[in-house]
Amino acid sequence: MATTAASSAPPSGGAQVWLKRLRSGDEVARLITLVFASIILVLTVGLVYQLWATSSMPRHKFGFTFLTSSLWNPVTGQFGALPFIYGTVVTSAIALLIAVPLGVGAAIFLSELAPPRISSLFTFFIELLAAVPSVIYGLLAIFTLVPLMRDYVEPFLKKTLGVVPVFGGAIYGFGYLTAAVILAVMTLPFIISISREALLEVPTEQREAALALGATRWESTWQAVVPYARLGIFGSIFLALARALGETMAVTMVIGNDPSIHASLFAPGYTIAAVIANEFAEASGDLHVQSLVELGLVLFLLTIMINALARLLIIATTRRGSAQS
């Protein structure tokens, strides 16, 4: 390669440098690692392409009514995604309703009040919670959470709040509420960990300024520190939401597997991830399989949108470093 350069007119400065780098192995190294890095691109593009291509049948047949139809009947060939979208959204929303107060509260404690050693110890344990596999949460949920909900929590809610249809209806133990509770437990560590980091970034001046003005410890925290970190906290919430939307095993084991929409939280339902897990291996007929793939596509789009939002918010806290009030 170098010889061709010598035989013709002397190469320009840039090519000379390139050749030098090639000989020293740097260019080779760059190219090799570039190839590996582009594998990531190939995989992502391939994934999106596969999801798109393998869902062509239901997309052409149903179009947008796939998203609005609530009838899922493999036998008659009618596939509508609404019950699954509903179940996914409801369980995730309720999970956040439970996990956010708990998580932000714990994050406040760990960042503001706890002595540093307890704070790092507790955070260590909480981050271990994030490493517990989904199927183990499901295992525990079936044998401990479901009886708890069925025998104590749901009857209690029905007795006190039963006038509202959301808390009415038959009690199964399996259902939206139980799935939401286990999702709350699973998303809790993310909210705590990221919110805590966001809170730790708040400069002490904010805290001290509020205290100097006569605020109580709580008022200074809640009215000065937390709002400052709110972008990061929202980021953690969106991240938790994205994870909750895609959770499969634990939800499949406790949601009751009913592809219809119910108003009551005690009723059995279905989520997108759960129906794919249950029906994919045995879906009869191409339309059925492809409808499940289309559901996967819907879930994919939903999670990347929310993940993107989450990352924007988290980046905004670290980059800008100040929240507009």
Binding site: R21, S24, G25, A29, R30, T33, L34, F36, A37, I39, I40, L43, L47, Q50, L51, L102, G105, A106, F109, L110, L113, A114, F124, F125, I126, E127, L128, A131, V132, P133, S134, I136, Y137, G138, L139, L140, I142, V185, L188, P189, I192, T216, W218, T221, W222, A242, L245, G246, E247, T248, M249, A273, A277, F280, A281, L292, G296, L299, F300, I304
Partner: protein, 282 residues
């Protein structure tokens, strides 16, 4: 002190105590989970469990040898494919990356990280199971590798970028080429972090069941080679937990305990390596 101030002080005390309660609850959950699994599982981890194959439904005395070996097979494949690719991609992002291409790769890696694992299972099904006409450890291994690559790439990049520039400049000043600098100076300097990232990544994929459900499937025997359906601990836990047999429930608890202890051990070891600076043997 006025009434209002007394109220504000009390409120402060109450709210702050509540936050403490929240933190204690969160930590307590971990110990509840661990405790419950150990309590229900440790009696069932016996010789049968570790060495025998499953028996037909209703019979006792079976074990999960097929799932233990199967999990190793699948994870082995995933790490052999995923770790090198992720590592190299991370090296590119941290050392060679330009502006747009590196940004694109980073963006896609984060995207892949956020994809629900069941969707990755669909991808692996389309790409491996259909052409191979059957479930296989290869399909499961590929699915897990697709999850492992972005995790490893980003963590490798993170730790390599945090190596101070002065180290690189010093080596370059001494006449080393760029790749030599990376190989002999930067990577060793960041090796603890890189190793941690890899261990955490493998621990994460070891517990996944969703992408394996219709890629590697299940097998009542120890699978020979990578082109047969293969059992795995997470899938077995799922199947046993949803069955009615008490003996199978015991096995699910035992498998859950084994899996959780392995995952937690890996996580704790990784974090200790990183924080305490315990040298990893070369």
């Amino acid at each position: 002190m006025t009434l209002r101030n007394r109220w504000r002080k009390t409120l402060s005390y109450i709210m702050l105590s509540l936050t403490g309660v929240c933190a204690v609850v969160a930590v307590a959950i971990l110990f509840l989970i661990l405790g419950y699994l150990v309590y229900n599982g440790w009696r069932s981890v016996d010789w049968n469990f570790l060495t025998k194959l499953p028996k037909s439904p209703g019979e006792t005395g079976g074990g999960m040898a097929n799932a233990i070996v199967g999990s190793f097979q699948i994870i082995l494949l995933a790490t052999v494919i995923g770790l090198p690719i992720g590592f190299m991609a991370g090296v590119y992002l941290s050392e060679f990356g330009g502006k747009t291409f590196a940004f694109l790769v980073r963006y896609m890696a984060d995207l892949l990280n956020g994809v629900p694992s069941i969707v990755i299972g669909i991808f692996a099904y389309a790409v491996v199971v259909i052409p191979m006409h059957g479930n296989s450890a290869s399909a499961g291994g590929l699915a897990l590798a697709v999850m492992l690559i972005p995790i490893t790439a980003r963590s490798t990049e993170q730790f390599m970028s945090s190596v101070p520039q002065t180290l690189r400049e010093g080596a370059l000043a001494l006449g080393a080429s760029k790749w030599k600098t990376i190989a002999t100076v930067v990577v060793p300097a960041a090796h603890r972090g890189i190793a941690t990232g890899m261990i955490l990544g493998v621990a994460r994929i070891a517990g996944e069941a969703a992408p394996l459900l219709f890629t590697s499937g299940n097998n009542d025997y120890i699978s020979s080679g990578f082109s047969q359906p293969t059992a795995s601990l997470p899938v077995m836990i799922f199947l046993r937990a949803t069955s009615p047999y008490d003996d199978w429930h015991r096995q699910a608890w035992a498998a859950g305990m084994v899996l959780l202890l392995l995952v937690l051990f890996a996580n704790i070891a990784a974090r200790l390596i990183l924080s305490r600076g315990i040298a990893v043997q070369r």
